[in-house]
Symmetry: C2
Subunit: 214 residues, 2 copies
DNA sequence: TGTACATCAGTGAACGCGCGTTCACTGATGTAC
DNA sequence: TGTACATCAGTGAACGCGCGTTCACTGATGTAC
């Protein structure tokens, strides 16, 4: 092995296996044998299983955050000097475009990212939740701040809950994209793509976010 | 112990622990020591950990299904002879009222049910997914059929995806209700209740389901 | 009514297994003089 | 250029531990005659 691709092989195998089965259901023995490396290599390179989980997550979260920042900069720059504020639809477009592009750049699929994210919240991985908040918190705040400005007639509390409605709808659907699109093919005879599904998701979420606050 | 409440004690402890940590992260030793029963009692009464998981789920899913059936019967009966079809909002009201009432009747909280349901899909518990489809499939089909009739202008494929947007939003938000409402209290100084949150969820979902199909 | 047997909830201890982690070790490459 | 040493990626085997499950057993209650 020329100058160690062991780290990359472990991260590749671990990403796929964690997304498929969950963090605690995937053993280091399964990861290392899939990657074709020695069992002890994970502890040698990463220190522990927890640190491997964070490394797997960071490898996909970091490019997403950087890309999102760039896209939001562009979007806001295009508005400076004008009085037309950024719209909900534009923000959602940016969010999902960033999701698709940043995972694509890694040779991964959005569903993998969404599954890792969903699992971080449903499995008891406190260390990972804290890691995500540390890494992603400021980008998340910037995005949600802009989103709230785009819906001035919705109260803060309603907006708060709708953010989670949106998060749940997005993460749940996109993390289960493969099985859901398979059902669609066999039961409805319809082909779909992730772009296609996002194109249905964006206006649906937009309608939900903007609707009259009762 | 008068005529064995061991089974109930195991189910109570297991429900709470599974919802808190997940199925595979909860050991039989933790369950039995919490319940104050012998370790071997789970295998004696339920056969295996898998069958315990199904029993925990069934205890909460079955009353929900029966209650939902009754509510839908009533709703449809109130319409027979008239030409006014059942509305989206009425169906959603019935769904969440059923959720709240059926869990309440067991002395449990909706978030517990939603967490167990969410975990069934995110943890690799194929046996549980199959069990849920067997038990719940026909009730689910009836509900979604009525819902689709209430939105005649939305195409079947769009409706298919929006069902999962709705499911994701509901399960994610309600299963994380406690931490989310705690954040709301500390950061916004607002008290909330599950009824309150559902009252925000229903019109939001309704707007999302009904919005113009692009 | 009394005795023998069957049933059944529950128990204590052990089983084998897979887990994450550790550790002494190897062998190749880089560095100092 | 040659030698001694340091560094570092990687390895094979073992560690102790907690896991789900099993099994022989107990003791109370019910049933048959």
């Amino acid at each position: 092995m020329a100058q160690s691709d062991t780290v990359e092989r472990i991260l590749d195998a671990a990403s796929a296996l964690f997304a498929e089965r969950g963090y605690s259901e995937t053993s280091l023995r399964t990861i290392t044998s899939t990657a074709g490396v020695n069992l002890a290599a994970v502890n040698y390179h990463f220190g522990s299983k927890k640190e491997l989980i964070q490394a797997v997550f960071g490898r996909i979260l970091t490019p997403f955050c950087l890309q999102l920042e760039k896209e939001l900069d562009q979007l806001q720059a295009s508005r400076s000097g004008y009085d037309t504020p950024v719209t909900v639809d534009e923000l959602l477009e940016v969010l999902f475009r960033t999701l698709i592009r940043s995972t694509d750049a890694l040779g991964e699929r959005p569903s993998l990212f969404m599954r890792l994210l969903g699992l971080a919240y449903t499995q008891s991985q406190d260390h990972l939740r804290h890691y995500i908040i540390d890494q992603f918190g400021s980008y998340y705040s910037r995005f949600t701040g802009l989103l709230q400005q785009a819906i001035p007639n919705v109260s803060p509390v309603t907006f708060y809950w709708r953010l989670y409605f949106m998060l749940g709808a997005s993460v749940f659907t996109l993390s289960s994209y493969d099985p859901l699109s398979n059902i669609l093919r066999t039961d409805y005879g319809e082909e779909s793509s992730i772009e296609n599904t996002v194109a249905l998701l964006v206006p649906s979420l937009s309608a939900m976010l903007k609707c009259e606050d009762s």
